[in-house]
């Protein structure tokens, strides 16, 4: 995982929008919608709780609804926060979210259709948590099924987009887990609430030992957004698409010596990919060569030494 994260070192600047109107629930006709998404264990609920608490302190009507029960650590977590003079429904309709805060890159992309197409603000951590099922292919060196979209792809689809390497910045500040507070800092630049109120609530919400770090990264988040809005160079920045990690990608070629095979059926039944069959002469045959991952199980368990797998180099394949 660390190896993958190290790949993202590029200096693409986020979109520049100079005239910024902060979202103000006093003047807005409809409730303001903030959608916070991420992966279990990152602190999605904490971010939404802080926001909801501030709105409540300031006297607005707040409705927050979340899905987290099934998520455990590593599953999808999202939280809807709506606030304003009058809020009726607790969930945000599709295409009505004013701000989307994503604590994980692919989760941000997944929820992008909830943003207002004209004015929605997209703030995402470039942290990538690759789920196990994205690495489902057992072929050695196979591509990972994770989003390859870059921040520049996102910028074309939404009004304003920020891709912050929040986890890296929070780690530098002293605690990786404060990345969510950094995104709160980024969020605070889009809303009209006073800074003191934000810091006050954060100080009450986070564990006492981590207050200092959290307040420091909150400021970092604010500075990051403000600077990047002006087009000034910022820490971290965007990233290049996820490439498959550097491994010795080895493809193998399976060959069967039919004269040695006695048709004991072990290879056919033991193959995890079910790519071998017994033909009409009761001799093992590779029926689906493209499915073979080169796991060697058939070779190892063949009592007659009839199967052999040899590595072939990628150049030879192409």
């Amino acid at each position: 995982m660390t190896k993958i994260n190290k790949v993202m070192k590029a200096t693409t600047q986020p979109a520049v929008r100079t005239a910024v109107e902060k979202l103000n629930p006093d003047t807005a006709k409809e409730p303001i919608n903030v959608l916070i998404v991420g992966v279990g264990g990152q602190g999605v609920i904490m971010v939404s709780k802080v926001l909801a608490q501030i709105c409540q302190n300031l006297g607005y009507q707040v409705k927050q609804s979340e899905v987290h029960g099934m998520a455990k650590r590593g599953g999808v977590v999202f939280s809807h926060v709506r606030f304003g003079q009058n809020v009726w429904s607790p969930t945000i309709p599709m295409g009505k979210a004013d701000v989307l805060i994503a604590l994980e890159w692919a989760e941000g992309l997944r929820w992008m259709n909830y943003l207002r197409p004209d004015t929605g603000i997209f703030i995402a951590d470039t942290k990538r948590i690759v789920p196990p099922f994205a690495c489902r292919s057992r072929i050695l060196g196979a591509d990972i099924g994770y989003s390859k979209n870059t921040p520049s792809d996102v910028r074309e689809k939404v009004a304003e987009a920020f891709a912050i390497d929040a986890t890296e910045m929070a780690t530098k500040a002293g605690n990786e887990r404060a990345a969510n507070t950094l995104l709160l800092g980024a969020l605070s630049t889009t809303l009209s609430f006073p800074d003191d109120e934000w810091k006050n609530v954060i100080g009450k919400m986070v564990p006492p030992k981590t207050i200092e770090v959290n307040l420091a990264v909150f400021d970092k988040g604010q500075v990051w957004i403000n600077r990047s809005r002006k087009g000034e160079p910022v820490e971290g920045g965007a990233f290049v698409p996820l490439v498959q990690p550097e491994i010795n990608s080895v493809r193998t070629e399976l060959s069967i010596t039919p004269e040695w095979c006695k048709g004991c059926d072990i290879c056919v039944k033991m193959c995890p990919e079910r790519c071998l069959v017994l033909n009409k002469d009761q001799v093992a045959e590779l029926a689906e060569p493209e499915k073979c991952t080169g796991c060697h199980i058939c070779e190892w368990l063949c009592p007659d030494f009839a199967i052999s797998l040899k590595p072939i180099h990628q150049e030879a394949v192409a």
Binding site: K262, G263, C264, D265, I266, V268, K269, M270, D304, S308
Partner: protein, 296 residues
């Protein structure tokens, strides 16, 4: 006479030692296909042995394979090394003489359950007692396969064989405990389905200075499997893990005379007893020194 080169311990073996293994470099290809039945576990055991030899980087000219009689005895024939096909039950006795005369050779004994425990049981306990540097691979298929399926000392309870048409009623040997009690310095057991683990156990046994006894739980698909409805070859291979229940092993005391289908696998004994060849040569030096003293 040169002492044999020290082999690698499990920690020293690198991935490169294990990879790049081409079994056909170690086989007498003109004898293939081999005579064993379809699905016989001995073929898998042979691969594990040859792979361990490859991983340890043993030169084929410095390798001596001694085998007895039976299906397991024939396994040695297919290895492209110095092989020695001996009389029934006596491979350990032949190997003892070979190792004493040529300590530079790596001596590996391939024997079966009947060969090692019944006909050659006496040789096993004495080889284990002396702790001479031999690696003994006992391929346990729980039956005399080659002679038509007679009951063997490791046939489990109630199994049908040609000599027990109503089911086996004899208690069985636990070969690993026998070897351990007789004094073997290194004792291990593994099933053939766990080939990499079996390879590591054999490789460690090859490197061990002393008598290393490795019991390989193999399948007799044609005789034992068919007579007892143990399923097809893949079902028997898959059933091996089910048959091994380490947790029940230690509770199995005197009141359970039959093999309860629960034996633990892995390296069971790794002791530090003196090796017989070394002690013997020390004794020779001592006697020669005494003789020279007497001549003066």
């Amino acid at each position: 006479m040169n002492e044999q080169a020290t082999l690698k311990s499990k920690e020293d073996m690198t991935q490169d030692d294990i990879r790049n293994f081409e079994i056909r470099d170690y086989l007498r290809l003109d004898l293939f296909p081999h005579f064993m039945c379809p699905g016989c576990g001995h073929g898998i055991a042979l691969r594990a042995l040859l792979w361990a030899i490859h991983a340890q980087g043993i030169d084929k000219d410095k390798l001596a394979i001694v085998s007895g009689i039976g299906c397991s005895g024939r396994v040695g024939t297919y290895i492209d090394a110095n092989t020695y096909h001996t009389t029934h039950g006596r491979p350990l006795a032949f190997a003892t003489g070979l190792k004493m005369a040529r300590p530079d050779l790596h001596v590996v004994v391939i024997t079966g359950d009947g060969d090692c425990l019944a006909i050659g049981g006496n040789h096993l306990i004495h080889a284990a007692r002396r702790n001479l540097d031999i690696t003994c691979l006992m391929l346990n298929n729980e039956i005399y396969g080659m002679t038509g399926g007679q009951v063997s000392p490791t046939t489990p309870a109630d199994r049908f064989t040609t000599t027990t048409p109503a089911g086996n009623m004899e208690p069985v040997f636990d070969a690993c405990r026998l070897a351990e009690a007789a004094g073997a310095g290194y004792v291990g057991r593994e099933v053939t389905i766990h080939l990499p683990r079996l390879r590591d156990i054999i490789a460690e046994g090859l490197a061990y200075k002393g008598f290393s006894f490795i019991e390989v739980m193999s399948d007799c698909t044609e005789v034992n499997g068919r007579k007892n409805d143990l399923g097809s070859s893949p079902e028997m291979v898959l059933g091996q893990t089910r048959a091994m229940r380490p947790s029940e092993y230690d509770n199995n005391v005197v009141d359970h005379p039959f093999r309860p289908n629960s034996m633990n696998t892995g390296v069971l004994v790794r002791s530090n007893r003196p090796e017989y060849g070394t002690s013997y040569r020390n004794m020779v030096d001592k006697v020669q020194a005494l003789q020279q003293k007497g001549q003066k």
